[in-house]
Amino acid sequence: MKVFLDFCMWFFGGFILFYMLFVIVSYCAMFVIAMLVMRKRYKLDPSEYDDAHTDAFYSKPVSLLVPAYNEEIGVVDTVYSLLNLRYPQTEIIIINDGSTDATLQTVIEHFRMKPVDKIVRTHIPTKQVKQIYESEIYKNCILVDKENGGKADALNVGINVSQYPYFCSIDGDSILDEKSLLRVMKPIILSDGEVIAAGGNIRIANGAKMQLGSVTETHLPNNYLVVMQIIEYARAFLMGRIALSKYNLVLIISGAFSVFSKEWAVEAGGYSTNIIGEDMELVVNIHRLIRKKKEKKRIEFVPDPVCWTEAPQTLGVLRNQRRRWHQGLFESLWKHKTMTLNPKYGLIGLLSFPYFWLVECLGPLVELGGYIYIVVAFFLGEIYYEVAIILLLLFVIYGVIFSIASILFEAWILNTYPKPRELLRMILLTFTEIFWYRPLTLFWRCEGLIRFVLRRSDWGNMKRVGIGEKEKSI
C-alpha cells in the first residue's frame, strides 16, 4: 500500500510540477511578447488617428447589435453610450429577446420607438421577429422585438436586420468609451479588410461613476471579489490576448465587445444557438472558413478600445459565470477537437488549440490537483513536504508575481488606476489570491468541466446579474 501511495505521490507531484513549469514558461513568453507590443505604443498620441477617422470618408459603417434579455435597467445606458460614440456612421439595433421584464417598454418609451413595416432578409435562420420599431428621436436606432431564443439567436436577428458591412456585438449591460469603436475598427480599416474580426479590451465598471452612458470616473471598488476580478482581467489581457493576436492565434474575442465582417460571419453560419460559448464558436468557425477558402485574413485583439462591464459581486453569481464560461470553453474545444494538432489548420491547430486545451481548459483540473496535493503532502510528511513547498512556490510565481506584473504593466502603459493608494491596494490583495480566490475559481471551473461531461446546460437564455446597480456607482 505504501509503495503504491509513494508511486502516486511521486507521479502526481512530478506531473503537476512539470505542468506548472510549462504554464509558467508559456505565460512568461506571452507576457514578454505583450510587453514588447505595448511598450512600442507607450506615449504615442492616439488623437491623430482618432481625429482623422471620425470622417466617414476614412472609415466603414458599422451596425451595433445590442441583444437584451431582461435588461430594463442597463439597456438605456448602453444605448446612450452607443449614441455617444465618436464614429461617423452607425446604426444601433437593440434586440429584445422575449424579455419577461419591462425591457421592451423601457426602450420604446425612452427612445420613442414607433412600429415600422420592414422586410428582413434571412441570412441566418432565427426565431420569429414579432415587430420592428424605429426611434423617432434617433433615426439610426432600431428596436427588434422577437421570440426568446437566447443571445446567439438575438445576435443572428441583429445580423439579419443590419444593413452595414460590419457589425459590432455589445452586451446589453456594457458601456463603451466614446472612441472605442473608432479604435477597434482601426486594424480593419488599416488592413483594407484583411482583418475580418476584432475584439476590444473589457474592463470592470464596478466602482465607476456613470452619466448618460459614459464612464466619468473610475475608482477601485471596496468589494474584494470584484478587485480580484479586475486583477484577473488585467492578467488575461497581458498573458494571452495580445500575444495570441500578434500571431493570429486568437480563439476568443469577448462577445461583450467585438466587431465582425458581416460577410464572413454570415458565411460561417452566424452565431451558434446550440452552444454556450457562442462568441468563441463564431471565431473558431471563421478560422475554419479562412483555412477552407485559403484566404489571408486575420482576427485581432485590440488593447486600447475599452468596453466597461459589470462584474459579479457575490460568490453565487461569480460561480455561475465561471462555471458557464468554462463549460462553454470545453464545449467549443470538444466540438472542434479535430482541429487540435491538425496541420491543416496551421498555427491555430498546432499552437492555439493545444494551448487552450492544456492551459485554459484542463489547467484548473491540474491546478486543483496541485492544491489537493499540497494538503495531502503536509499530512503525509517526510519528503513530500519538499515537493509541496516547490509547488507552493510555483503557485506564488504563477498567482502572485504574474498578477503584480500585469497590474503594474497595465498601470504603466495604459495609465489605469491613477491613484497610488489603489495601485498598492491591488498589489497587496494579489498576495491573498492563491489562498482563496484562485482555489475557488478553480473549483468552479472544474464544476463547469463536470457539467459538460454530464451534458448539463440550464442556461438557455442570457440572463445576467448585477446590472441594476450601475447608476448607483458601487
Binding site: D192, E386, I427
Partner: protein
C-alpha cells in the same frame, strides 16, 4: 535536485518580487512627474489661453510670454493649436500658427526626431504635419535615410505631400511599401488640386490601392472636372474600378445622360446594378423608370431595395410603385415596393 530547487525557487521569487517592488517605486515616481507635468501644462493653458485668443483672433501684438519654456508648455500649445485648427477654418489663424511653430516649436520636434523611442518620433512627425513646420523638411529628408518604420515613412509621405508635392509623387512611385486605401485617402485629400489632378491623370501607373483611393478622393471632392475621367473608368477591365467609378459619379451627383449607364442594368455583378439604381436618383424618373422597374425585380435584395428607394424619391414615385404593385406578379418586388411606400409615408 529538490533540495537545490527550493532555494533556487525562493531566490528566483525573491528576485522577481524585488524587481517588481522597484518597478512599483518607478511607476509611483513617474506618476508624480506626470502630475507635475500636467500641472505646469494646465497652468500655462489657463494663463495663456486669453493671450492666444487675442493674438490669433483679435490681431493683438505677440507676447513673449507665449513662447514655451519646456515640454509641458509645448504640450499646452499643442492642445491650443489643435483646438483652433480643428474648430476654426481661417487662413490668418493657420498662417500665424504655422509661423509660430516654425519659429518656436521647431527645435523641440527636431530633437524628438532623434529620439530612440518610436512613439516620440511618431508624435513629432504628426505635429510637423499638423502645424506645417516646413523648416523641418530637410531634417525629415535626413530622417528618411535612417532606419525607420513603415508608419514613420507614411507620416513622411504626408509631410512631403504638404510641403513638396512633386517629391511626394516621386516617392509613392518608387515606394515598395503598400499602404491601405484609407491611408492613401488621408494623404490625397490634403493634396493641392493641381497635384491631385496630375496624380489622377496618371491613373494607370498606380497600384490598385492608390487607384481606389484616387477615385474615392475625386468623388469626395465633388468636383465636376473629374466626371469625364470617371466616366472613362466605367469601361475599365477591373469590376472594382467600375463600381468605384459609378460610386464616384453618384457622389458628384451630376448625371447628364442615361446611355452610358444603361448597359450596367444587366451587369452580372449585383454591386454594379446597385450602383446604377443609386445613380438614377440624379436623373428624372421618366428617363429611368423602365430600367428601375427591371431593377425592382432583380434577384438581389439590395438592388431591389435601392431601386424602390430611387423610385420613391421622385415626386410621382409612390404612384408609380402603386401601379407596379397592381400589375406585377413578382411577390418579392411587390413586398419591397409596399415597404418603401409605407416607409416613405411614415417619414412624411
Amino acid at each position: 535536485m529538490i533540495e537545490l530547487s527550493i532555494p533556487f525557487l525562493l531566490t528566483f521569487s525573491g528576485v522577481l518580487l524585488v524587481v517588481l517592488f522597484l518597478f512599483t517605486i518607478y511607476i509611483l515616481v513617474q506618476r508624480k512627474r506626470e502630475i507635475r507635468f500636467a500641472e505646469v501644462r494646465d497652468t500655462f493653458l489657463q494663463n495663456s489661453s486669453q493671450h492666444w485668443y487675442n493674438y490669433l483672433i483679435n490681431d493683438e501684438i505677440f507676447s513673449i510670454a507665449l513662447v514655451p519654456r519646456g515640454r509641458a508648455q509645448v504640450a499646452a500649445i499643442e492642445i491650443i493649436f489643435s483646438s483652433y485648427l480643428k474648430n476654426i477654418s481661417n487662413e490668418k489663424v493657420e498662417r500665424k500658427i504655422k509661423e509660430f511653430s516654425n519659429l518656436y516649436l521647431k527645435n523641440f520636434y527636431e530633437k524628438d526626431l532623434s529620439s530612440k523611442r518610436w512613439s516620440i518620433r511618431m508624435n513629432a512627425l504628426y505635429h510637423i504635419a499638423d502645424l506645417q513646420i516646413e523648416d523641418l523638411l530637410e531634417t525629415c529628408l535626413q530622417f528618411e535615410k535612417t532606419k525607420i518604420s513603415e508608419e514613420e515613412y507614411f507620416q513622411l509621405l504626408k509631410i512631403y505631400s504638404l510641403f513638396q508635392p512633386e517629391l511626394f509623387i516621386e516617392k509613392i512611385k518608387e515606394s515598395n511599401i503598400h499602404y491601405s486605401e484609407s491611408e492613401y485617402r488621408r494623404v490625397f485629400v490634403l493634396l493641392e488640386e493641381d497635384v491631385f489632378i496630375r496624380l489622377f491623370e496618371d491613373f494607370n501607373s498606380w497600384t490598385p490601392n492608390i487607384q481606389f483611393a484616387a477615385i474615392d478622393t475625386a468623388a469626395v471632392k465633388r468636383n465636376m472636372q473629374y466626371i469625364d475621367q470617371l466616366k472613362q473608368l466605367l469601361t475599365h477591365e477591373m469590376p472594382e474600378i467600375q463600381i468605384r467609378a459609378l460610386k464616384g459619379l453618384y457622389e458628384i451627383g451630376v448625371i447628364d445622360e442615361v446611355d452610358p449607364y444603361a448597359p450596367f442594368v444587366t451587369s452580372d455583378m449585383w454591386e454594379i446594378r446597385l450602383m446604377v439604381a443609386k445613380i438614377f436618383k440624379h436623373v428624372p424618373l421618366n428617363y429611368t423608370y423602365a430600367y428601375l422597374e427591371q431593377l425592382l425585380q432583380d434577384e438581389n435584395w439590395w438592388v431591389r431595395s435601392q431601386a424602390a428607394k430611387t423610385i420613391a424619391e421622385n415626386r410621382e414615385g409612390i404612384a408609380k410603385l402603386q401601379q407596379f404593385m397592381e400589375s406585377s406578379n413578382d411577390p418579392y418586388a411587390i413586398d419591397m415596393a409596399r415597404e418603401t411606400i409605407v416607409r416613405k409615408r411614415g417619414n412624411k
